[in-house]
């Protein structure tokens, strides 16, 4: 403790002595620690971005599991932040922002190549797109939209549904006939009405891998699933129609090491390069934010990609602000519904 304090005050004194007030005067560090959820996408990023990035800049990137706002909060409480970037879901950006944990994204320093506007936020950069979509066994009757999807009379069978309010309630509202363009503010009563109606035919899934498994085992005939999990699975048909398009983000915490922050901007720039995104897309169908990616994607699997122009235009984006503003109500209703069933 004492030692740390001493170091910190020395560092502070040194900083003051050098008169460093402008962060840009700091050279990028030679190492960059990133907190994220790990998994297939990060493995692909390690191959397609981290490796060439190291060749080019000499900056060694390491990833630490997990990321997310919970870890960031714990770090802020303990007073020591390691890592210049944290991954996060859409909803987490608003939370982290409200708690004042985030540094603004320095778009000038990232100097991005062309990217979708929705991926470019003040406090976060969207680096991979994913969708939540309907999927069904190819031998079951195909639903055309979510009203049909939730119609257990004309489309009999079990439904495997995500056990996450943000990923099910909007679809349940669509299932009660709410039009897509009036989805937000979300009508919770209508959403829960749908869930109540099909209760006996519901199997809730927790882990993303469960949805395709339940379909392939014929335990469920219909599922709402993350696109990357069901796309290209044998015996499973998917549709992006009325699907929810979303992104995984990177956020920068206040209080990270300034030199590492500089390295982080350079690394984020690599994410906007479409060749890099195409490389990642070979391994996992969660594409990056370039609007010019379609020609570089594997053409025989174009239909599996959330940002493929034909898929992108039939989907909607969630309203992170609404979720943030209504978090207490949603949580209360969800908790009641789930624990009382």
């Amino acid at each position: 403790m004492k030692h740390n304090f001493l170091l910190a005050s020395m560092a502070l004194a040194a900083t003051a002595a050098l008169g460093i007030s402008n962060a840009s005067a700091v050279d990028p560090s030679k190492t960059l620690l990133i907190n994220d959820a790990g998994g297939q996408w990060v493995e692909a990023v390690a191959k397609c971005i981290d490796e060439p990035f190291f060749q080019k800049t000499g900056i060694k990137v390491t990833h630490e599991v997990p990321g997310g706002i919970a870890k960031l909060l714990a770090m802020v409480e303990s007073g020591k932040i390691t890592g210049a970037l944290f991954d996060g879901e859409t909803g987490e950006i608003e939370q982290a922002k409200a708690k004042g944990l985030l540094k603004k994204i320095d778009w000038a320093k990232i100097n991005p190549e062309p990217m979708f506007d929705e991926a470019k936020q003040e406090y976060a950069m969207g680096t991979s797109f994913y969708s939540t979509i309907m999927a069904w066994r190819s031998d079951a009757k195909a639903p055309g939209n979510f009203v049909e999807f939730f119609d257990t009379v004309n489309f009999p069978g079990k439904r495997a549904l995500p056990n996450y309010p943000g990923f099910i309630l909007p679809f349940a509202a669509l299932g009660d006939g709410v039009p897509v363009d009036q989805l937000f503010p979300l009508d919770l009563d209508r959403a829960f009405k749908t869930l109540d109606r099909i209760k006996d035919d519901t199997i809730w899934w927790e882990a993303g891998a469960q949805a395709p498994q339940l379909l392939q085992d014929n335990e469920a005939q219909y599922a709402i699933s993350w696109s990357g999990r069901v796309a290209g699975k044998e015996g499973v048909t998917i549709s992006f129609n009325q699907g929810m398009l979303d992104m995984s983000w990177f956020m920068m915490p206040k209080g990270a090491d300034p030199a590492e922050m500089e390295a982080a901007w350079l690394w984020l720039h690599e994410h906007t390069v479409k060749a890099n995104q195409a490389c990642v897309a070979q391994y996992i169908s969660y594409p990056g934010p370039s609007p010019e990616l379609d020609p570089l994607l594997p053409q025989d699997r174009l239909g599996e990609f959330p940002t493929y122009s034909e898929n992108k235009k039939v989907q909607w984006l969630t309203d992170a602000k609404w979720w943030f503003d209504n978090v207490d109500t949603v949580q209360k209703r969800w908790e009641e519904y789930k624990l009382q069933q």
Partner: protein, 294 residues
């Protein structure tokens, strides 16, 4: 059990030397484990205790989370459901486990080894795999339902899973070895001369069992039931998968408080309450065990 009795006959043991040599090594031997347990278990537990009385809006400790938890019309039913299910599971484990253990003790030595092996093998298989295996067997498109359909006995699949029945089946499956092994060990310790005496005195095999054998093994049975009951209070994976997300138990509720809603204070209060209940049950278990003949 007459260790180190001062009046024991025979040459005096080099007590002093043993002390000076063994004691420091014993301490150093357990020291790493002790530090590990304190750092990785006890300290976090105390932190959780701190969380459970923490007021997010002020510096003073509060009992609000405990009051929230115990007065809520939503949380308490989950606790009752957990207790009810734990009781059912414990009951079924006893009904299945006791006769099984008894049957094993009557086998030849070689067969006993095989039978115990068969009981233990599931221990080595991941609980996740065992849980999913039930979907293959009892699922809507599982072996049982498909067979019944092909035999023309049913039209629609019988819903074995994705309800409380499914959770109970999965839990009994996981907990059965915990029931069988201690009872089996206790049965082996029963002095067979007592049974012979009863037989010599003309007791029927039924009364030998009910009036001699069962009462001797009863303390072991009740202690083991207490143990199984404690274990079944903390199930998470089984209700999540075999309950189809529709049978939330205490652990699933805590998962919701920790991972879904940032309500760690409430989760800690639930955890502390569960810990207290478990400790009380454990005290009961130890008491029952102390009554088990050695």
């Amino acid at each position: 059990m007459t260790l180190a009795s001062p009046t024991a006959s025979g040459p005096a043991r080099p007590v002093a030397r043993r002390w000076s040599f063994t004691r420091p090594t014993e301490v150093t031997r357990i020291l790493p484990l002790f530090i590990l347990v304190v750092l990785c278990f006890d300290v976090p537990l105390l932190v959780a205790l701190g969380w459970s009385v923490r007021d997010p809006k002020g510096p003073d400790p509060t009992l609000r989370h405990y009051i929230d938890f115990t007065t809520s019309p939503i949380y308490l039913p989950v606790v009752w459901r957990t207790i009810e299910l734990a009781a059912i599971v414990t009951g079924f484990c006893a009904i299945l486990g006791y006769p099984l253990a008894l049957w094993i003790t009557r086998l030849s030595a070689g067969r006993q080894l095989v039978a115990i092996g068969l009981v233990i093998i599931p221990f080595w298989i991941s609980i996740l795999v065992r849980t999913y295996a039930w979907i293959v067997i009892l699922g809507n498109a599982g072996v049982v339902n498909r067979t019944l359909k092909e035999l023309g006995l049913i039209e629609k699949s019988i819903p074995f899973l994705y309800n409380e029945l499914g959770v109970a089946i999965g839990m009994v499956n996981v907990l059965l070895p915990f029931m069988v092994l201690p009872i089996y060990a206790a049965m082996l310790r029963v002095d067979s001369r007592l049974l012979h005496v009863a037989a010599t005195l003309g007791a029927s095999s039924f009364s030998i069992f009910w009036r001699v054998f069962f009462p001797i093994t009863l303390p072991a049975l009740s202690a083991t039931m207490a143990l199984v009951f404690i274990l079944s209070l903390g199930f998470y994976i089984t209700p999540a998968i075999l309950g189809g997300g529709k049978v939330p138990l205490i652990a699933n509720m805590m998962d919701m408080f920790i991972n879904r809603l940032p309500r760690w204070e409430l989760a800690s209060a639930v955890a502390m309450t569960l810990l207290l209940v478990t400790l009380l049950l454990y005290a009961g278990y130890q008491w029952l065990r102390s009554r088990t003949p050695a």
